[in-house]
């Protein structure tokens, strides 16, 4: 029985902390969120050299071969810094490839991801905002020898091979798609759902960035118009990808919740530090129970979410049958904790908390944004009971 991290994991945490403190201080996040720029690929290459994007890529494919517990160590620290790095999306793609792909496909994709050369993401949701196989309207159909790639007004023609597929549809809320080189697209095929590895540069793919409440969580719409792919783009059997997609989403939900407890932790620390130094009525405001009790309640909420996230990260690999339920509980708890902490961080700062220069709004936006990203608490609470009723 040991519910804590190993010395190696604590070293990893310290290393991540050092790099983020140097490279991505909140001042830089503030400047960046005023005018979001494309991802700093040089920084991504540097973190790749430290092993982050390849953290869960098997060693045979150039990664560190570590697990979800190690991943959330990095994600939690990234959350504290509100780092706009596409690690969560990348790990989701890595996981989907590991679960579904054959050796040739792994060899084609994983080493590039681990090296930082390829940024990858996964596209499941669509306009319906529903996570279910039936909700996926994007379709994959067999190519008819030749395909038209509709790119703008001009149509081009290309020769196709037997077994080629053509994708049509619109994916929405795709994390980090604007930086991605590789987009794993869920599409209906043979009365099921398949997952296709789509290069962002493939003819017919158009990525339109969304303007989001929290610019440190970039996302985009991905349009696929007659996108022709070789059969080798399909990961796993035709129509059989949904169970793997569900596992990827559960893992991603836990990863997102890990980022969120990191952010909540930093927001509470910021509020507490201010409450210690800001004086009113002749006393630090942190002496007043209206302030200190609120901080205490938030700590209870954050620590509780933290326990659920850590356990969920363990369950993903060591006890998969529990993963869905703990993903739901962890995300619900993390949503409530961060949403409230970001809000309280502004309130404890008073008027200054509402200024652009104060970092409080960065955490507030992260909280409001992530509360509903990958499912709001009410959806996750419903899932907790529904899962129990399924197994009963």
């Amino acid at each position: 029985m040991d519910f804590g991290f190993t010395p190696e994991q604590e070293q990893l945490r310290a290393q991540v902390r050092r790099l983020l403190d140097t490279e991505l201080p909140l001042e830089r996040i503030l400047a960046w969120s005023a005018k979001p720029q494309p991802l700093d690929r040089a920084l991504w290459t540097r973190v790749a050299a430290l092993g982050w994007p390849g953290i869960t890529v098997p060693e045979a494919y150039g990664g560190l071969g570590l697990g979800c517990e190690d991943l959330i160590v990095v994600l939690e620290e990234m959350g504290k810094s509100l780092a706009p790095l596409p690690l969560l999306a990348t790990d989701a793609a890595v996981t989907a490839i590991r679960l579904l792909a054959d050796d040739a496909q792994c060899t084609a994709h994983l080493p590039g991801i681990a090296a930082g050369a390829t940024i990858a993401t996964i596209a499941v949701l669509e306009e319906s905002d529903v996570v279910a196989p039936d909700a996926i309207a994007t379709r994959a159909r067999a190519a008819e020898g030749e395909a038209r790639h509709a790119t703008g007004a001009a149509a081009t023609r290309g020769a196709g091979a037997a077994g080629d597929v053509v994708l049509d549809g619109v994916k929405l809320f795709v994390p980090d798609a604007q930086h991605a080189d590789l987009i794993l697209v869920a599409a209906r095929e043979n009365d099921g759902v398949s997952l296709f590895a789509v290069p962002a540069t493939a003819p017919g793919v158009r990525v339109a960035p969304l303007v989001v409440v929290d610019p440190t969580k970039p996302a985009a719409e991905v349009r696929l118009e007659s996108v022709r792919l070789a059969a080798s783009a399909r990961l796993g059997v035709a129509g059989g990808a949904w169970p793997a997609i569900v596992r990827v989403l559960d893992r991603m939900t836990i990863g997102l919740a890990a980022e969120m407890i990191g952010a909540a932790d930093a927001a509470l620390a910021m509020a507490v530090e201010y409450a210690k130094v800001r004086r009113q009525f002749g006393s630090p405001i942190g002496r007043f129970q209206g302030v200190k009790h609120r901080c205490a309640e938030l700590l209870v909420d954050i620590e509780s979410a933290r326990s659920l996230v850590y356990y969920g990260a363990w369950a993903v690999e060591q006890s998969p049958e529990q993963a869905a339920s703990y993903a739901a509980m962890a995300k619900a708890a993390a949503s409530e904790a961060l949403d409230a902490t970001g809000e309280e961080c502004i309130q404890i700062h008073g008027a200054i908390g509402y200024t652009w220069e104060c970092h409080a709004h960065l955490f507030y936006k992260r909280g409001r944004h992530c509360h509903v990203w990958m499912g709001a608490p009410d959806e996750h609470y419903e899932r907790v009971l529904a899962l129990q009723e399924q197994t009963a």
Partner: protein
């Protein structure tokens, strides 16, 4: 992270389960709570003896005083299995085990240990705790009940209140002020007092649920031998504070709340609201799942704190986190049951048409001992804010 147990620990768990199968008293208390435990005291006496033979009363106390000398992990397993199977408490001398024994082990003389620990382990003696006073509740250290030395005795005058189980107890662990001039935490002394000492009057207090578990206790020139002082004069605050910090894995509470939650789901499957089962009502489902999430968080928080202890780091105010969660869940469970029952939620025990004979109304009226006792939620928040977040102390 590793949530598996060693072969030895698993063997211990199997041993506990076998023990429960063979020794659990028939018809004895349901969920290990204090009230039902006391109601069947005589029937539980053998349970205590059987536990004692295994070394499971005072499980983590040192062997030299008759305890089990058990490890933290084994203790967690023991409590978890007992609570999971709705076993009665791990020993009959409830306050003696929770408060008095740990203080005696750390501060008692050899004679005091020899006199008091064996009866606590056997369940022969009930203890109560003379801490709170009318003017000293959350601010316990401001207590005024005073003791003055006179020859070989202290002479105690004053009043205690909210003294749980006083009317069933033979002994009391009592905090008195021996030095009115000293800073408030340093002028306090701890005494061990026989309840039948002349000058002591116990007056039960009727509670909002109609029961009477606690009492007022009055002291009028009560003579307590000097030899009954626990620890040094002026050390009383430390003596009891250490006992407060002792043993806080909360795993037993977690399982009691898990049983409660199962009961609520079962209730929601039987009750109808607005033409459908309450369990199919989205609002009720949200509240059930949210409570489940909080109870799970409490369980896992406990495991994280246990890990800290196992790694040799001291545990401090973290335990207040679970105490606050427990308070939230205790209060919400009675309120949620009422809302599941709808208008039937007004029917109490013995009423015609009452659901489950008003069981959930007792829950709705029964949370204060668990929420107020040992420090109100507001006090827990002070503790968390000051000791975990480093915010300033709020007392002037």
């Amino acid at each position: 992270m590793d949530f598996t147990f060693t072969t030895e620990e698993e063997r211990f768990r199997a041993d506990v389960r076998a023990f429960i199968r063979d020794h659990l008293p028939k018809g004895a208390s349901g969920d290990g709570d204090l009230e039902s435990g006391l109601a069947s005291l005589p029937a539980l006496y053998k349970w205590n003896q059987d536990l004692l033979a295994k070394g499971w009363v005072g499980f983590n106390w040192p062997r030299e005083v008759g305890g089990g000398g058990g490890s933290l992990v084994a203790q967690m397993i023991l409590k978890e299995e007992m609570a999971r199977h709705k076993a009665p408490p791990l020993g009959l001398s409830y306050m003696g085990l929770a408060w008095v024994g740990p203080a005696l082990i750390k501060y008692g003389t050899a004679a005091q240990k020899a006199e008091h620990i064996p009866p606590i382990l056997r369940g022969d003696i009930q203890w109560c705790t003379g801490y709170s006073e009318p003017g000293a509740g959350s601010d316990l250290a401001s207590l005024q009940c005073k003791a003055v030395r006179d020859g070989d005795d202290y002479v105690v005058n004053g009043q205690k209140i909210w003294t749980s189980l006083a009317m069933w107890s033979q002994w009391m662990i009592l905090l008195v002020r021996t030095d009115p001039e000293a800073p408030k935490h340093l002028g306090i002394t701890c005494l061990l007092v026989r309840i039948d000492t002349p000058g002591i009057t116990v007056k039960p207090i009727k509670e909002m649920n109609g029961g009477a578990m606690f009492a007022e206790v009055f002291f009028e020139d009560v003579r307590v031998p000097l030899g009954n002082r626990l620890g040094a004069e002026g050390q009383g605050w430390d003596v009891t504070k250490d006992a407060l910090a002792n043993e806080r894995s909360s795993i037993g509470d977690v399982w009691a709340l898990k049983h409660r939650l199962e009961g609520l789901k079962d209730l929601a499957a039987r009750c109808r609201r607005r033409g459908r089962r309450a369990i199919d009502d989205p609002g009720i489902r949200q509240r059930l799942a949210r409570m489940e999430t909080q109870v799970e968080a409490m369980r896992l928080n406990g495991l994280r704190f246990l890990t800290k202890q196992l790694r040799g780091e001291p545990l401090g105010a973290e335990t207040s986190i679970n105490k606050l969660i427990r308070a939230r869940v205790e209060i919400e469970s009675g309120r949620l049951a009422r809302d599941i029952e709808g208008t039937y939620g007004v029917l109490a025990k013995k009423s015609p048409h009452a659901i489950d004979d008003g069981k959930w109304q007792r829950v709705m009226l029964g949370w204060p001992p668990y929420v107020i006792g040992g420090g109100t939620p507001n006090i827990q928040k002070n503790v968390i804010a000051e000791r975990l977040l480093g915010l300033p102390h709020d007392a002037p």
